[in-house]
């Protein structure tokens, strides 16, 4: 394991964690968090799928991970909240720090990491046996948290996910009765209910129509004022529309692990990339 100290360790991680563990903290005062990935390498069994990826995801920004299929974007994203290790043969090297605390160290449990760094998946996956309201609150019962006013929390989360107006009169209906786009926003609301500092989104719009996609993109822009967002997308227009920062992943030749070719402000990556391979990709030469 390579351990590189990031400059943020000076920020006294203990203070940050105390803030998080007190759940009474009002949403408005919730500080945004940063994630610093340093030299992250991932394996599935003997196959190395990602090599020495270093990327900082800044507070209050949307970072987009772009690149062709199979270049390790999703693996990288899943390593950021310890979902990577759920695959039995998975392994990882490097450090990933949430506000200066290594999430793979003993200082954090996987459940704490995942409740602070939420995730929205490619395919909408509301819990089929639960109502819309129960879906929003599922994270609380799963992680043993309690909330004094669940009704208000449901409304708040559904509003933030841009779904409230459409479902406010049928909160007790099943989550599967919604359309695909609504289901995905329900999943966003569900992720927000546990008050994450960071939200990871793995191609959240790839299964949706353009109108639903636009609504979710609006939601992302609104959320990023309070939450740090990392989004994997295949859609380069989407990356340009929603992200502040972009990282371009690429597999050089078949069998190689994925690497970050270039990362920087979105405008720069798209309009004035420093690497010719980035230029080829963002201008549609391949991919």
């Amino acid at each position: 394991m390579t351990t590189v100290q990031s400059p943020q360790t000076a920020e006294t991680p203990a203070a940050n964690r105390q803030l998080v563990s007190s759940e009474i903290l009002p949403e408005e005062l919730h500080p945004s968090s940063r994630i610093d990935a340093t030299d992250v390498t991932c394996w599935f069994g003997k196959r190395k799928v990602l090599e020495r990826c270093t990327l900082s995801m800044e507070p209050g920004e949307v970072t987009a991970l772009i690149g062709p299929s199979g270049c390790g974007k999703s693996t990288f994203l899943r390593s950021l909240n310890r979902m990577h290790e759920l695959v039995p043969v998975a392994a990882i090297a490097g450090t990933i720090e949430l506000d200066g605390v290594d999430i793979y160290s003993e200082e954090m449990s996987p459940t704490e990491v995942r409740s602070r760094i939420g995730m929205v998946f490619q395919k909408p996956n509301p819990f089929p046996a639960m109502s819309i309201a129960d879906n929003v609150l599922a994270g609380l019962s799963l992680s043993g948290m309690s909330n004094e006013d669940p009704k208000a929390l449901v409304e708040q989360c559904l509003r933030r996910a841009g779904l409230w107006a459409e479902v406010s009169d049928r909160l007790n209906e099943g989550g599967m009765s919604l359309s695909g786009g609504q289901q995905q926003r329900l999943c966003i609301a569900r992720a927000l209910a546990v008050h994450p500092d960071v939200l990871l989104m793995d191609e959240p719009c790839s299964a949706l129509d353009p109108i639903s996609t636009r609504v979710i993109e609006q939601t992302i822009r609104e959320l990023c004022e309070e939450i740090t967002i990392v989004i994997v997308t295949h859609n380069m227009q989407q990356a340009q529309r929603v992200s502040d920062k972009c990282a371009f992943f690429l597999v050089e030749s078949i069998g190689d692990p994925g690497r970050i070719v270039e990362a920087g402000p979105t405008a720069q990556v798209f309009e004035n990339p420093s690497d010719p391979r980035t230029y080829d990709y963002v201008t549609g030469q391949f991919g």
């Binding site: 939420g118 996956n125 019962s141 999943c187």
Partner: protein
């Protein structure tokens, strides 16, 4: 000129046309083979029921249909038979075995699916299969010789500490604890663990990975994920698995006959010596039975057949209903 054909067609209501179904010879032969197999199984069920019903008539006539099911006697010399006590005993033993087996089986299924490393998973899976293939006489002998002593210890502990629950009381303070329904039920439990384990394991393995990941990604612990996602998902299938096990427990014969101190009367003191079941009655009495007693044993068999059928139908109904709800 009369109406042209398109106009005529427009006036007429359309009906579905015949579709030519040409079946190849191979297909026809194979279909016949499969249909015969299906017919044989239906014939076996129907034939068995019919055989039991016909052969049971003499005893039922002699003892009286009502009193056969409402009394507890077994007197071949005067032709007086009643199996109420044994019906109750059968349910007692099967219930004890479920109480022991269900937590074991579901825990085992969850451990294999969710917690065990790949290598141990393989070993566990094949040993559960092996357990299912073990002849019940082996379980019976092992239960009789090896399991009784430790289980008597458990029984007296239960009686000492949990006698607030009526089932854990004894008829008299120093009643013998060997060869009881509790011991038999526990041995039968070990025999139905494999079927409950493997069916509920298969069901829970069907749970979409995306659901499990969603639960974990919300900061859920593995237990939280099991409680909120896996068990609700598998509810119908697990209920079915449990009832399958119950059906097996109702009919378990040789292990019960070997261990239980057989009584015709129902014994509500589960921890105490004595008890019985329909299947063990048949196993114990059959070798020396003649004429009317054979007919009475067959009538008892018919009662067991009916009870098992009801349980299975109930199981199907429950499974179907929960499937619709989900």
């Amino acid at each position: 000129m009369a109406l042209t054909s398109p106009e005529l067609q427009a006036l007429e209501e359309q009906v579905p046309r015949d579709i030519a179904r040409t079946v190849t010879r191979g297909d026809r032969i194979f279909r016949t083979l499969c249909a015969s197999a299906a017919a044989v199984s239906l014939f076996i069920i129907g034939g068995t029921a019919l055989f039991l019903a016909i052969k049971a008539v003499p005893a039922l006539q002699k003892a009286g249909l009502l009193s056969f099911f409402t009394t507890s006697v077994w007197n071949p010399t005067v032709g007086d038979f009643g199996v109420l006590g044994l019906l109750i005993g059968t349910i007692i033993i099967a219930t004890v075995s479920l109480i022991v087996a269900v937590p074991l089986a579901i825990g085992l299924a969850l451990f294999i699916n969710e917690y065990s490393p790949a290598r141990i998973r393989r070993i566990l899976t094949s040993s559960v299969d092996l357990l299912a293939a073990m002849p019940s006489i082996i379980f019976g002998m092992w239960g009789f010789f090896a399991l009784q002593a430790p289980l008597v210890g458990v029984a007296s502990w239960l009686n000492l500490h949990l006698s607030a629950i009526p089932f854990f009381r004894l008829s008299e303070p120093d009643a013998p604890l060997l060869r009881s329904s509790f011991i038999v039920g526990t041995v039968v439990a070990l025999m139905i663990v494999p079927i409950i384990t493997s069916v509920s394991r298969d069901v829970m393995a069907q749970c979409p990975r995306s659901q499990c990941e969603a639960a974990l990604a919300l900061g859920g612990s593995r237990w939280g994920m099991i409680k909120e996602v896996l068990l609700p998902f598998g509810k119908a299938g697990i209920t079915g698995a449990i009832l399958l096990g119950f059906g097996r427990a109702l009919g378990e014969t040789i292990a019960v006959a070997l261990i239980i101190a057989f009584t015709i009367e129902a014994n509500p003191y589960v921890l105490e010596q004595g008890g019985g079941s329909i299947a063990s009655l048949i196993a114990i009495k059959f070798p020396e039975a003649q004429d009317l007693e054979i007919s009475a044993l067959i009538a008892a068999g018919l009662a067991l057949f009916g009870m098992t059928l009801l349980v299975n139908l109930g199981a199907r109904a429950i499974v179907r209903r929960t499937q619709i709800a989900a």
